[in-house]
Subunit: 170 residues, 2 copies
């Protein structure tokens, strides 16, 4: 339930900044995809090394269930739990399997060598990009919408209509 | 990736016991549902007070997004993260909105009063039951299937065919 003292009227830019601050200290996201049979699967994925700017990036495997699921259904959820602080972030968006050597080099760290024998040149390395469309954050039992799903598609309003009852709730 | 030293050949009963032991110490699950527009939404939900026996139970609100989503699409994912231990559990299953006063009394605790003005008699209280169909557990970078999706539907094999390459991976 929405805490009365909190306002949803933040810009996308402010929301993105909040999200960047939250996820940078959380080592793994839970990335949930829908498989061909319609089942929902969550898998821990290493949080990107670079600052979040509205797109989430993960390094996965081309032969993983996650990649197979995304090829069939791009809608995904990335969630971040900090069980010590008891905070939770849910981020909904559209995933893309991307080939981008420059981006891969930016995101790569030696930790991925544990997963890829051939290192950064391993042919199984797959960049996953998620365009964040909506995000909700829970802290001390309060919910806050950090990114609002663009309301345009549903109500004919633009995504600037934050904080009204007509915006699309996550 | 599957750790070579770990076997998938555990019975459903053993898997259920493992899951019960994992989730009892994790206060909140992240429950992911699919909404009418196909977006995936995760929301923290209080872990049940009783021991897991193959069905997960949550107490939610009839007017919540979670309940609305389940009415349209029963496939859900419940994930449990322990960021201190760095362990993750993903559980896929089918959700049902259930009216069962005896079960509600068994699961209810005073903590829910923060969410429901009318307490256990609040007309907005909604029991959610999730039949666990598959579960995967990550610990120290190793993956373990604790419950196998019944393979019958896909390969013609029964769910007793654990541990082969033909079983359905989560």
């Amino acid at each position: 339930m929405q805490h009365p003292g909190m306002s949803d009227s933040i810009t996308r830019e402010e929301g993105v900044k909040h999200i960047a601050a939250i996820i940078k200290d959380i080592k793994f996201a839970l990335l949930t995809t829908t498989n061909a049979e319609g089942h929902l699967h969550a898998r821990p994925m290493t949080t990107q090394q670079t600052e979040f700017d509205g797109d989430l990036w993960f390094i996965g495997s081309k032969d993983s269930g996650t990649a197979a699921d995304i090829r069939k259904n791009a809608q995904v959820n990335a969630s971040y739990a900090d069980t010590g602080k008891n905070t939770y972030l849910s981020l909904a968006g559209k995933a893309e399997l991307v080939e981008d050597r420059a981006k891969l080099e930016e995101l790569w760290s030696d930790a991925y060598k544990a997963y890829f024998e051939g290192g950064i040149d391993d042919p199984n390395v797959q960049l996953i990009k998620i365009n964040a469309e909506g995000a909700e954050f829970w802290e001390s039992g309060k919910t806050r919408n950090l990114l609002q799903m663009a309301a345009a598609a549903v109500t004919g309003k633009t995504s600037h209509d934050h904080g009204t009852n007509e915006t699309v709730k996550l």
